[in-house]
Amino acid sequence: MSEGVERSLEPGGAATADAVVVTERAQSASGDERGGLLHGPAARNLGLVIALALLCVVGVVTAGDRFASIDNILTILRLAAITGVLSIGMTFVITGGGIDLSVGSVLGLASVWASTLATQTMAQDTHWIVMVFTALLVGVACGLVNGVLVAYGNVVAFIATLAMMVAARGLAEIISNRQTQRVKVQGFLDFFRDDWLGIPVLVWIFALVSAAGWVLLNRTTFGRRTLAVGGNPEAARLAGIKVKRHTMYLYALAGLTAGIGGVMMLGRTTAGTSTNGMLYELDAIAAVVVGGTLLAGGRGTIVGTVFGVLIFTTLTNVFTLNNLSISAQAIAKGVIIVGAVLLQQRVAARSRAGT
């Protein structure tokens, strides 16, 4: 936990220093965390590993081979993939001190837009990749609108993305006329419903997005800036970071993951409907928070997010395998979220005491 404290920047002190020094400090701070990746975050993630391991033990004990089979693990991963990708984008937004309530709706809109008759006809005439680009473009565009509203319009993130959540769902309903649009482009379906090396393409996408997210957050200037912006925007601005532009990028990134999620949803369900991705924003936020990213911003962990996603999907799986009541599952989810937030508050309190 102490590593986690160090990982958040110390902007209070930094703000008073010369900008160049600040940048160096920022870099050395993230340098620490670079060296500590195997120690600090690993220690912080230990709780998550234990939680997941415990769930797996419960799964094996109660369901035996039905749980510990390759088929079942793939079922868990396939279910985790779409929310997982959304959660990676959400990790960036939350680390940057924001929140994005619109990702589920944008996912739905992207899946609808990419599966309209017009898009599918175009894809049939050219290449199925057209559908992918359409979904990604829709996602990024929605994300940019969020970003501009939050960063330049000074609209509170909660409200701006809430507006997008409602509006994107409405637009999706208008475009699809509330009907189910079946994907008929065979190339698209063949690609996204395939397995590589025995692992579904959707799970590969989740893995790739997670890896890319980890590199982006932990190994690039972009990631360091995200931590700085989330930790203390004023200090970040004084350190020469274009805070507004960076914030906009973060929402565009979340929009991009929503677009990817839309493509994955089309691959999985073979159908674009306006109800796709309903409430996924809550699943994503829950996974990110349980993973250990601070809701207040300034600290984020991709590994934790991936664990958070896996914990929730494994929980769903274990409950389903054991034929347990839906209400018990809802209660368990609630308890986990509250537990994680309580833990976070203690960490945050210690962090404040430390600086």
């Binding site: 089979s69 079922t75 279910l79 189910t180 999985r268 369900t269 109800t275 796709n276 389903t320 989810k333």
Partner: protein, 353 residues
């Protein structure tokens, strides 16, 4: 049928509460249920009855349905569970009720991994669940499709459907009978969600039936299957139409709001026909204490029938009331009109809204 829910977790809790009410309301009705359901295959063993109900090979059935954000949908799962409990040879695995097709697909994957004998599935979106249902069928699992049809007939061994067009016809014919050739009768229709095919089917049936006696719908307003939507739609309708002879309301859940609006307006010059067949509406018809004089049924026991049919198919039994050796491919349930005269027959299978 179900309006999209905005808060899944809240709905889970709400659904549970609703379910609890249904439990309280329905427990005494189970014996009648098997007699009244349209597929009379497994009626209690009686003289001249069949051996279909006698325990056979163990059957593991996986069940999945959309979130119970609507009284009718809550009753679907409840009735399925109650029916499964009647059989010692049926083990029912109920998956979390969900309006997320992604999760529902994963539930079916889980059932396939588990090697269940049959899956009874009311898909949130028929098209989205079609591919996984085909996969299950290819693995030798009996898939019974309930209410919302798959987009490929190969995805299910048996399909159990309600009759939306028939609901409209039943309601229209009843109104024709009651108004008996009154030439310029004013008839209003309060529809469900207008863009849904099922709503269009109901309205088409209603218009077709009214046309046979020379009547037509004079005022039509869509609502959204919720009480608050029904209240708003009905309030506007009553403003727009100073005199009415009959109203058909597509859905008894939204009917709660419709009745509230009618009472608020103090109107009683017309009679009203409901839809779907909730217990409250049937009790009101029985008591004859309001403008509600009839309702047309959209059976909430479809999934329960799905359980029975899945069991028969897996055990290699036939529907003994038919000559046919195998269980049929498709069963469409009837949409009868419930009035004061026959309400006792249908009350046991009515759902709590």
């Amino acid at each position: 049928m179900s309006a999209p829910t905005r808060r899944r977790w809240l709905t889970l809790a709400a659904g549970t509460v609703a379910l609890a009410f249904v439990v309280a309301g329905c427990t005494s009705n189970e014996p009648e249920e098997s007699e009244d359901t349209a597929t009379n295959t497994a009626a209690a063993p009686a003289p001249g009855g069949t051996s279909n109900d006698e325990p056979g090979d163990k059957v593991v059935i996986g069940f999945s349905a959309p979130a119970a954000d609507h009284g009718w949908m809550a009753a679907i799962t409840k009735a399925a569970q109650a029916t499964a409990e009647e059989y010692s040879d049926v083990e029912l695995r109920v998956a979390e009720a969900t309006n997320d097709t992604n999760l529902q697909i994963s539930q079916i994957e889980g059932f396939i991994n588990d090697g269940v004998d049959a899956i009874v599935l009311l898909p949130f979106d028929g098209a989205a669940l079609t591919d996984i249902a085909i996969e299950a069928m290819q693995k030798g699992i009996v898939v019974v499709n309930v209410d919302r049809e798959f987009s490929d007939p190969n995805a299910a061994r048996v399909t159990v459907l309600g009759d939306n067009y028939g609901m409209g016809v039943s309601a229209g014919s009843y109104i024709c009978d009651q108004l008996g050739g009154k030439a310029d009768a004013k008839i209003a229709e309060i529809a469900g969600i207008d863009s849904l095919p099922l709503t269009q089917d109901r309205s088409q049936g209603f218009a077709d039936a009214l046309a046979t006696c020379g009547l037509e719908v004079s005022n039509r307003v869509p609502a959204d299957f919720t009480a608050q939507g029904g209240e708003a739609a009905a309030a506007n309708l009553l403003q727009a139409a100073p005199h009415l002879d009959a109203i058909w309301n597509h859905d008894d859940d939204q009917g709660v709001g419709v009745m509230a609006a009618i009472e608020a307006a103090g109107r009683d010059e017309f009679f009203m026909v409901g839809g779907a067949g909730s217990k409250q509406v049937m009790e009101s018809i029985k008591a004859d204490d309001s403008v509600l004089k009839a309702t047309v049924i959209y059976p909430s026991t479809q999934a329960a029938d799905g359980i029975k049919l899945a069991r028969l198919v897996v055990q290699g039994k036939s529907m003994s009331d038919l000559v046919e050796v195998e269980v049929p491919r498709k069963i469409q349930l009837f949409a009868p009109v419930v009035t004061k005269d026959n309400v006792d027959r249908y009350l046991p299978t009515a759902f709590e809204s």
